[in-house]
Amino acid sequence: MSMLELRQVSKSYGQGSAEVHALHEVSLTADEGAMVAVMGPSGSGKSSLLTIAGTLEEPTSGEVLIAGQPVSRLSRGAKAQLRRRVIGYVFQDFNLLPGLTAAENVSLPLELDGVSGRKARVAALDALGQLDLSGRAAHYPDQLSGGERQRVAIARAMVGKRKLLLADEPSGALDSVNAESVMRLLHEACKNAGMTAVVVTHDAQLASWADRVLFLRDGRVTDQTAPAAGPESLLVPDGKQ
């Protein structure tokens, strides 16, 4: 089943001569358990695509479906619930709240959704444990390294068995080893926990963790990779080298 579908989504800002077209008839499907990367230079519309997919903004035209449901037909309340229960967001600059511990940051979305403090804490500790952060639960963001902060942010995006993970340059602020472990975690969240992830990035090494890479240019999807061949295709046959 497709967890996220964008049908002919366009987005423009401003009017008349000042009108800017951020997206032109973008279509995209991400099935359950799939990791999709959207690659493009700055200004290509990557972030608009993600905010529209995450129901944070409405498209000018076209339709967004989450788990088969057209978002435009949902009430404000239902949309807010979708954002709290189904969708997890990961940003480049982590966006953790500084006055809260790692565990409090992770349990916050559940508590906002009305889950009791105790249950939310148990779920938060479980999510932190999955990301190897059990020992960091009581630490504040400024006591964590960049890589740890981003793992806390991923735990926050996954907590409460959410289904759709949207990530905007999730490892942009990290060195290459930490960036890789962030991508590996997102990949495992898809393969093992059945999440669906859409990651936007300009970085080909990070995009290459995805099952499928879409190329965005000037607000249009211009191309995409073929279904990935296995690594065996890289091995050199005997005697060729």
């Binding site: 080909a204 995009a207 290459s208 190329f215 050199v236 005997d238």
Partner: protein, 203 residues
């Protein structure tokens, strides 16, 4: 990679048999570079001739013959490790040529040309990344070899991104110029040969 120095490196850990050297070479390079027995023995014979390894002279040629590194061999290995490979002259890069040619051909969409290459490179990178996923996580030599390939391919993608950005900006500003257009009489001064001449004089 130099098989000669790889053999010296393996022997620097202690004496080994020829067959063992071949197996260890393949295992440590993640079996990415297969090696035939003939290559191993020819290399060992040359190393012995040059005084870099020695064998227990009594045993017959074959898998039972044991080799060890000499002091001279250890020195050779240490020197090799610290000698940078020659990266000074730019390689004749086919992809660079294609993009430069595409830019000058009327009716060719440079972005489509760039994208065709970018897609291919990213697909290759996806395949290399699959190796990291598939449990190669603890094999350090394998991870480093895969990283090297990913960084190499990534640098080409980044060059394409930069090239596309530059072309887009130049087209928008109307500042697209060619060396030969600046000197219309001189048809031989195409950008690449000139670049090569300049690189050479700098060396």
């Amino acid at each position: 990679m130099s098989v000669r120095h790889a053999m010296l490196a393996l022997l620097s850990e202690g004496p080994k048999y020829g067959l063992q050297l071949r197996e260890e070479f393949e295992a440590r390079t993640g079996e990415v570079w297969p090696l035939n027995v003939g290559q191993v023995y020819t290399t060992l014979q040359r190393l012995e001739r040059d005084g870099l390894v020695e064998s227990d002279g009594t045993a017959e040629e074959g898998p039972q013959k044991s080799f060890r590194i000499t002091g001279e061999g250890e020195q050779e290995l240490a020197d090799w490790l610290r000698t940078p490979p020659d990266l000074s002259s730019p390689p004749r890069d086919e992809l660079v040529m294609k993009v430069l040619v595409a830019l000058r051909m009327p009716g060719v969409d440079v972005h489509a040309v760039v994208q065709a290459h970018r897609r291919y490179l990213v697909e290759l990178m996806q395949q290399w990344t699959r190796i990291k996923e598939d449990g190669a996580g603890t094999d350090l030599s394998m991870l480093l070899a895969v990283d090297a390939e990913l960084f190499r391919l990534d640098s080409v993608v980044r060059w394409l991104d930069a090239a596309e950005g530059r072309v887009k900006r130049a087209a928008a500003d109307g500042t697209l110029t060619w060396a030969d257009q600046a000197n219309p009489g001189d048809q031989t001064r195409a950008p690449l040969p000139r670049l090569r001449r300049e690189m050479r004089t700098r060396r």
